[in-house]
Symmetry: C2
Subunit: 225 residues, 2 copies
């Protein structure tokens, strides 16, 4: 039987913007790699152009299928710029995991192990109320999975004060480096320590708010922190 919906391709089509000028062997376009990098993080750096000049804002994002969402006050600059008659806001959304410091024998070959995703596209304000509420839940759950079901949902006033931008995953690339240093053959005998220092984000024990009633236990979804 023919599928009801067209099959989703396994990879994003490279474009002139998403093919790096160098280290092309580090680039990837397959959906699985891109989703995996996006799903393990929640902070992105969102770039847009204002009065001809670049602006880069750190902000949260969530992935829902082939869409990313970011949110902000209805008064914030990028949200306003994408709103109104809504021509959309050209953006570049970048997510980066730092995995390790690569110390080579030569200063030149020092490097980083990392995984990053860069998404180019036009962000649009979400106007459908159902999509907006689902996006707000997704933003909470991207940071702490399960949390949206264990907190008070946004009320009408809060939802009205929040703008949500949608960015389709279409023009997307991943870039990554793994492994040890790549020293020059003539440097191998130099007396410098060489290797990788692994790096990752870690979390401390959750600190209850001062006004939390002692009867409220730490929920199971927070016990892994």
């Amino acid at each position: 039987m023919a599928p009801v919906t067209p099959p989703v391709p396994d990879a994003y089509a490279p474009t002139e913007r998403t093919v790096p000028t160098r280290s092309r062997e580090r680039a990837a376009y397959d959906r699985e790699t891109v989703h995996s990098i996006l799903d393990q993080e929640y902070v992105c750096h969102l770039g847009f152009v204002r009065d001809g000049r670049p602006v880069v804002l750190p902000t949260l994002y969530a992935r829902v299928g082939e869409r990313l969402y970011v949110h902000g006050s209805t008064g914030s600059r990028p949200l306003r710029m994408a709103g109104g008659e809504d021509p959309g806001l050209p953006v570049c959304l970048t997510v980066t995991h730092l995995d390790g410091l690569v110390l080579a024998r030569s200063a030149f070959h020092h490097s980083m192990n990392y995984r990053s995703v860069m998404v180019h596209g036009i962000a649009h304000q979400v106007t459908d109320p159902g999509e907006k509420l689902a996006a707000l839940d997704a933003l909470v759950d991207q940071v702490v999975p399960g949390r949206s079901a264990d907190s008070r949902p946004a009320n009408a006033k809060e939802a009205a004060a929040t703008a949500v931008l949608r960015l389709d995953l279409d023009e997307v690339s991943a870039k990554m480096r793994t492994g040890g240093p790549n020293d020059e053959p003539e440097d191998l005998e130099l007396p410098y320590w060489t290797g990788v220092i692994p790096a990752r984000r870690t979390y401390g024990t959750p600190v209850p708010a001062d006004d939390l009633a002692p009867s409220v236990p730490l929920p199971s979804y927070l016990r892994g922190y």
Copy 2:
């Protein structure tokens, strides 16, 4: 006696670009705060405009006094765009530390504790050979203090293959959030756990390269990892 050089002001002058549209109480312009945030990190997200569209690249930076440096291949896009007759490249360089996840009783008041710095300016290619070599050392030392003196310096060929951009600290702001959740008074009795999950980057035990001679010890500046 009059100072030989004019005194450095204690703060960066706010501009229209560096005054946030909201949460202004989270913004800071004093040099000490800005330097402190910059000096505790080495990965930035560098934004620039290419063909009218934003691009956000993760890259390393170093601070030397009132200048930031980033580097890349002489063939990479932003480096080429800042070179040639060198009109300079308008950039926004953003550095972000994530310090904690703030879980409020309401989804709306979920937040992040963070410290970030945003630098706007025109980046220029460094052409002075001495400044360039010092910047390359600073880039290595920003990541691992002391490392540049314990590795082989760049030779002429490597230095020629590397372009360095300089960005003056002039139009600069910091933004940060600290503390616990700010729930609405009417939500205080809700039965949801609330508090902060501390977050930070941590490092694992350094992993020697496969070809490191066993006689080379782990240097003292790496023993803290």
